[in-house]
Symmetry: C2
Subunit: 141 residues, 2 copies
DNA sequence: TTATGTGCAAACTGTTTGCGCGAAG
DNA sequence: CTTCGCGCAAACAGTTTGCACATAA
């Protein structure tokens, strides 16, 4: 949970306030690393009832803005969040059939990232949206 | 508009029915190649009033299922659709700051696609979700 | 004629917002 | 003590669904 303390310190240094709700959100993210907002809300509710869902959403937003938390957009599903600190940087692959998510190292995407940077000046953020496809098991059937 | 005829033929060959609404949806997609459902609805409404929005959504869905139309998920925005036939296959890059979309050839993604296929058996569908990052102009500021 | 598509209204999920109260700094 | 965060309820966008009627095949 040193991650939580680090995140809180970073938050404070950015001039953001540290509240019970924010602490709870960060604790939830430390506990389970790839959650959507509703899951965070559930976890927070069980540890610390009385925190409103809207507050969870607002806090996830401001934590992302502060750079303490990162999120990944998942097509046809809720955005998932994780602590930036913890972030062994990776990209998500999602199977369009079974919905299962697989992580791949960010280096695998480097050739593509280099190419779009060189040719278009576009700075790719490969972890920011999940890539889609069909996993081995589903492809077999 | 030969694209529309082709798409209709393909549709019929799959046992799907050809209706006024479906024709209108395909015409709209032929006319403007990267639209979301609401835009299609607007275009259809102006050419062919009386087609309900729900029908647009249902048809886009079944056209995708039939392989006649493809869609791309765009984070924080509506899914965009295009005729598969027309589809010079490409992947979309979206700037998280200005929202602008840039197309890149699918080949650029091949090294990554090959790698996930070889190592994970995962069949990547690179065009299916937009990739995120920061475009040159926004990176400059 | 019969399975499939359609219009309509209503539900649903994920998320955001305006408001006045409460607590962090 | 003042600014920022909070709880609440309500709105929001995008999309889906159950039903009875209409229509393509």
């Amino acid at each position: 949970m040193a991650d939580v303390e680090m995140a809180l310190a970073l938050l404070r240094s950015k001039g953001e306030r540290v509240t019970k709700a924010r602490r709870a959100v960060l604790r939830a993210l430390a506990e389970r690393p790839h959650q959507d907002a509703e899951s965070v809300a559930a976890l927070v509710a069980s540890a610390d009832p009385g925190v409103h869902r809207a507050t969870i959403y607002r806090n996830l937003q401001s934590l992302v803005d502060a750079g303490v938390v990162s999120h990944t957009h998942v097509p046809d599903a809720a955005t998932i969040y994780h602590l930036s600190v913890t972030g062994h940087r990776h990209t998500h692959l999602q199977c369009v059939r079974c919905g299962r998510m697989v992580d791949i190292p960010l280096e695998w995407v480097s050739p593509l990232a280099d190419r779009v940077r060189d040719e278009l000046g576009f700075e790719l953020d490969a972890g920011h949206a999940a890539l889609l496809g069909t996993c081995r098991d589903c492809a077999a059937s």
